[in-house]
């Protein structure tokens, strides 16, 4: 059976695209004792979908998450799903979190991680698969302070590289809504 081949003439010239972690840069900040502030800086020519954000904690017993509050995006008409909310430039998220005391009792336990799943597209006419990024949470009883790093744990289908972002110099955030 013939092997598949791809000559230069088969693939059309494509626009250069950023890796997902560069197109959508995540940083985390302490907002108060029970709230994490997340910010995605979105590169020019890229956008994110409001309904494609997911948050979880690993291990699940390490913390309880509240309902996330998002900054206001722009409504876009989707031919199948009607109006959908999208973000350009940036999106700010406030995520209530209550760390569990049970996990911190075990000194050998792996540090708990907040898993942020997001998904976005490029104006070039392509969409990225969902990306999972992990933020290490501080142990129970300590201040809610985050190391300035966000680790991409992979997308659906393959691993991504590690990104390092400084969340300490983020601009003042716009008001958030409760959707």
């Amino acid at each position: 059976m013939a092997a598949t081949s791809l000559s230069a003439s088969v693939a059309r010239a494509e626009p250069e695209l950023l890796q997902a972690e560069n197109a959508f840069q995540l940083s985390a900040q302490r907002k108060d004792a029970k709230t994490i502030g997340l910010e995605f800086k979105i590169a020019n020519g890229y956008y994110m979908y409001r309904k494609r954000f997911r948050f979880s904690v690993e291990p699940a017993s390490a913390a309880k998450l509240g309902k996330a509050k998002f900054s206001k995006g722009k409504m876009k008409l989707d031919p199948t799903f009607g109006l959908v909310e999208t973000y350009r430039d940036s999106v700010h998220i406030l995520l209530p979190i209550v760390l569990s005391s049970k996990v911190s009792l075990s000194t050998n336990a792996q540090p708990a991680r907040l898993i942020v799943t997001s998904q976005g597209c490029a104006d070039a006419g392509v969409c990225f698969p969902p990306v999972r990024q992990a933020i290490t949470l501080p142990p129970f009883g300590t201040a809610l302070v985050f190391p300035d790093n966000v680790v991409s744990t992979g997308s659906s289908g393959g691993p991504l590289t590690t990104g390092v972002h400084d969340g300490s110099n983020s601009p003042k955030q716009p008001p958030v809504n409760n959707n």
Binding site: T4, C127, P129
Partner: protein, 191 residues
């Protein structure tokens, strides 16, 4: 004369500094371009591997791509959360209607949940099979040259497995029609 030489030396130093600064700028540009990536890369899956690949359809029935080995097989990777993917589905449906009796078979492979695809199919049915594998679709797409796992991704196989079209982003109906026309048998109609 000596004053002139000093001025000349200062001018040379300034020009050298400017050149060095410009050179540094080039290095920065190169570093930036390393972060981006040209979309389509080499296909690493053999024809045998492609045709032996299986995916479930919306009803959960396992479908083997090899059942279309003798057809001009157009595989379209998509998802319900991908706006550009949904934009091009009417184009794909038109191509299937136009070239279906000339050996073309379009197959959609969704990187999505069966429930999402089933709901989508009710709202916007298409005239070609839809297979579903939330994780496996992107992995398979990567093996066909889509290193970043972007959607939509469309690959056209000649009967036997040679790749003759490989495209990221929304397809061009005209371009794809021309390619399909070149690779479909001419049908003579008798009176």
């Amino acid at each position: 004369m000596r004053k002139f030489a000093v001025l000349l030396l200062i001018l040379i130093l300034v020009l050298a500094s400017v050149a060095l600064w410009l050179g540094h700028g080039d290095v920065a540009s190169e570093a930036l371009s390393e972060k981006s990536a040209t979309a389509i890369h080499e296909v690493v899956a053999s024809a045998g591997a492609v045709y032996s690949t299986t995916f479930p359809d919306v009803d959960g029935q396992i479908q083997r791509l090899g059942q279309w080995e003798q057809r001009l097989l157009l595989v379209n990777f998509w998802a319900t959360w991908c706006g550009p993917c949904k934009e091009e589905m009417p184009i794909l449906a038109k191509l299937q209607a136009r070239f279906g009796d000339k050996n073309l078979q379009i197959v959609g492979i969704a990187a999505d949940s069966p429930l999402n695809v089933a709901n989508f199919s009710k709202k916007a049915p298409v005239n070609y099979p839809l297979l579903v594998d939330e994780m496996g679709a992107i992995q398979f797409s990567r093996r066909l040259g889509n290193r970043l796992g972007l959607l939509p991704h469309t690959v056209l196989f000649r009967p036997g497995g040679e790749v003759i079209y490989n495209r990221l982003g929304v397809i061009s109906e005209g371009e794809l029609s021309d390619i399909i026309n070149k690779h479909t048998p001419i049908v003579f109609k008798s009176d």
